[in-house]
Symmetry: D2
């Protein structure tokens, strides 16, 4: 093997650039050439590909977003387009592809693998919802951004005796809601993985007011409903002087945390080590604190991310 | 004079606690007693008042929100209630009142002054929209929070070649929009102080795309319209793959910046120095980098905050 | 069991307060009373003990330091003093003790357990050097503070083509150095767990300069030597326009990260669950992402923290 | 005028890149060409000069350090070298030079002006010690970094009842010490502009301990002495369980604050507006909140930065 390609796809996540650096560097230091592919699968098919240079890589380690850009490209669901992509990769002499991204990005890598082109998926998404790994690159940063926002909102909630309903990202997984909610002492956390009981939540808030906590914080994962919708439902059970806030895209970019950068370094290097051993067609990740690689087809077809729902019970035990 | 009272009122702003500390300490160190009044004018009328202790004050200097709480209290617009408030103050032996807050809070202090009770208004609000001062306590922190959020959003905008419309706080003043917009290299800033031309903004974005900048950032002050409304209008002029984001309450709380804390220290101490000189009935502030005190009645009746609209022209000269 | 006691001891670490809250709340919500012990073992022996109230606990979740304070107290190494402590605990009707702290703090808990008083050790220290857990409360925050400092220093190193030698905390463990060093793209990381070769490091820096990276970053754990000492040695091998910086105490306090707060919540609650099950005399922690409890005497006598030294090899593969 | 040159010189400061962007953009949008000069005056003399492109400028607005680099170059004190520099500028067709930097950098611009080459000095240094301006680009960021560090240290000081002596940057000016010291509730601030009385400081700390504040914070500007030296002196007056910390280079780089970026935008654009009006040989700055331009020769020869020493008296009135 002489050349590997790298692309990022799907929603950007903090730490993607640290992963790009680790993949490229680990490849270069092992004697390979690393090619960057701009704009995800779209750039792949269009041949928007360049040879990466080592000198510029260290300075991207702390930058949000992705220097390789991302782009929507539904056309890549078609076999013809996938084969076109492999043709382009062959033309550039690229023998293996490392894809950083979420669910959709993995499916691209899966298809390329099915057509015989060696691809490895590196989990990069803020939602933490990819099978084959306990944590994705970008989740820790997103959770910290959400927590910091909740801290700020707690200041206002306390000052004004209000209840805030805050919607955090997480379409299919409640991980950001759980981690930031626990970290910010939320009174209730609402996630897609478990039924919520709005009457019980409202009763708890009313009871809290009697017992000396006259403000509240409810964290809702976007996959359940919007903050505005939840607030409207809640208001039917009492006058909580409630406010709805949607954190939205601020959770996505920004300077990655140490944990996300170290995870990016470990996974990025691991992808290259596997390729050097002749392996491929893998989804890689971290499980029980150890690097793991699983068959990308089996992982995507037969497994699902398991949110640690016990954190919800934990929150019930430590809240006011 | 033996005793002064302190209250916070209106929306909380980062740095209010640093102001509370400076007022209380400056009073204590000059031999006065400082009384904290909880829940703004409501607590004043209800006698929710306590003697402050020096030992606990240093640790609030970096905390968001207000330890004296705030509360809505429209009843204070009535003369009867105002006189009731003065009665309570007299009962506690409080001879002068320092009020930290925004426009509405100032009006309370104005009324008390009109009824003969010495009051001083300290400008504390994130919107920077109070007459009699160039800068309010809380504005610098809010602007920094907004800028950091815009930085994050720029990462995503760049990665995905999108246009983001971001709504920042500022009901009557465009200051947060202007400062954060310039700081984050916005392509357009929309403020209540000046007519906007949405067609011109759309054309600029289209032109940018031709000239090599394929993403964009538009900062809209909430006083103009919501981000969603602006996005909808914008989309009529082209396909910008646009997104609307509302920063909302995250701009309010949080750890205050150095500038807000130093401003709070200066203004808080200045209020006490003026009271010690026998002065009162004043709105205080900072103008051209100097502490200033103006008649609170005249200031509120005859003056308006002047946003530095030249910053909009500046942004036009330095944007892409 | 009716009453549990909580104390913090040793160097403060971000997240200790979140652990105090979780322990106290989990106890209260299970029907127990929680007593706070001020100033560590000193306060224990002196009876500086108070009943904790639920209402004030949520607001400490994001505060650095420890609201229970800490104090040096070498006297607690003596059996007599330990028995005096148990006497005091009995007097207060406290039946079990949860100690948050580092190595020294654990030894106190071990001794109390040996004398028959049920104690549980919760790992709280920035150094990540406690046996029985993969991660300690405070480590993630400290690593992030160090990384942010290294990011800043990289800006200056790049602008001025300098080599910076930065000393981070970690007397017996290189974990902060490893994590922050990888995160900040260090050219070399020097830790107590492995011999360093200063000539090799100097040669690498010289070689880097030839290959296009004209600045450098070396992260040194304090357990190896000071930054100033390392710089002096390094300068004997070439003119690197080097600077020595010691991050020192800034790594200790501050707002805890989400990860540290969630870890504090999990471990704090776990301590109470174990006590409710009638267990005690335990060191608790997180291992391979799962909560674990081990005999505190065996853990302290027979085990040592294992730094993941493979991170050093990883850094060698991904650096310039 | 067709072409202007931009260089940064002296110690890097956060916001320098925002200034580079504003200067270049304002020039480009006015129809001029902007040339970047790498490595300060060294690069100028060596002809390390390139035409800047508009597309890459927006993304540097939030980056610390300087993309134009800096370098020591004592040779530029010699007339011969200065004339060589002008020769190079003429060769590149550059008709005016904008220099961002501190005292030393201004002297270079002064000399070029004396030799007839139109130069403008933009104040960029963290120390806030340049005549002709109330605030320099980089000061607000450095003060905020210092304040955040002091906040962290306060957590530890409070937890352990210690006194911390913290050395902040500021060789000739106490501005960082004053602003961060007031912001972090320091018990004493020691600056080069005023004599300090160590006995009085020690007595105050001892008295504080009696009155209920058992920890302390002393901020020392590096221009007075090192933290270690101050601690040693202090320890002669009592047992304060004191610690010395030097913040050092972390104050320099990092993401610039909103205030520093807006100041950079205003000053950068102002430099170009002046050049377009045919003016030059100027030091520009902000005074009493307004942009000002003064003769660079007169400013450097006859004026000195005036630290607002009244802040020291303010701190004495609001401290414990």
């Amino acid at each position: 093997m002489k050349r590997i390609g790298i692309l990022t796809s799907g929603g950007d996540a903090a730490g993607m650039n640290a992963a790009v650096r680790a993949i490229a560097r680990s490849a270069m230091n092992a004697g390979l050439e690393a090619y960057g592919i701009n704009y995800g699968y779209k750039g792949l098919v269009e041949g928007n590909i360049f040879k990466m240079e080592s000198t510029k890589l260290d300075e991207i380690v702390n930058r949000g977003g992705t220097i390789l850009y991302s782009a929507r490209y539904p056309e890549f669901a078609e076999k013809e387009t996938q084969l076109k992509g492999i043709e382009v990769l062959n033309k550039f002499g690229i023998e293996a592809l490392v894809v950083i991204g979420g669910d959709g990005s993995y499916h691209g890598a899966e298809k390329l693998t099915m057509h015989g082109f060696n691809s490895i998926g590196v989990p990069g998404t803020i939602d933490n919802d990819i099978p084959g790994t306990d944590f994705t690159i970008g989740f820790d940063t997103a959770a910290n951004v959400a927590t910091e926002a909740l801290d700020r909102i707690n200041d206002t909630a306390t000052s004004h005796q209000r209840v805030f309903v805050v919607e955090v990202m997480g379409r299919g997984a409640g991980d950001i809601a759980l981690w930031s909610g626990i970290a910010a002492a939320a009174d209730a956390i609402v996630i897609p993985e478990r039924e919520y009981d709005i009457e019980a939540i409202a009763n708890k808030l009313t009871e809290n007011r009697k017992n000396g906590k006259d403000h509240g914080l409810i964290v809702v994962a976007e996959g359940v409903m919007t903050a505005a919708e939840f607030k409207e439902k809640l208001d039917q059970y009492g006058d909580f002087d409630s406010r709805a806030v949607t954190l939205a895209h601020v959770q996505r970019g920004g300077v990655p945390t140490t944990k996300d950068r170290v995870l990016a370094a470990r996974l990025g290097d691991y992808a290259i080590q596997l390729l050097l051993e002749g392996k491929g067609g893998l989804a890689i990740g971290i499980h029980d604190n150890k690097l793991v690689a699983t068959d990308i087809i089996d992982t995507l077809e037969n497994h699902k991310h398991q949110t640690d729902v016990s954190l919800l019970d934990l929150n019930d035990r430590i809240r006011f």
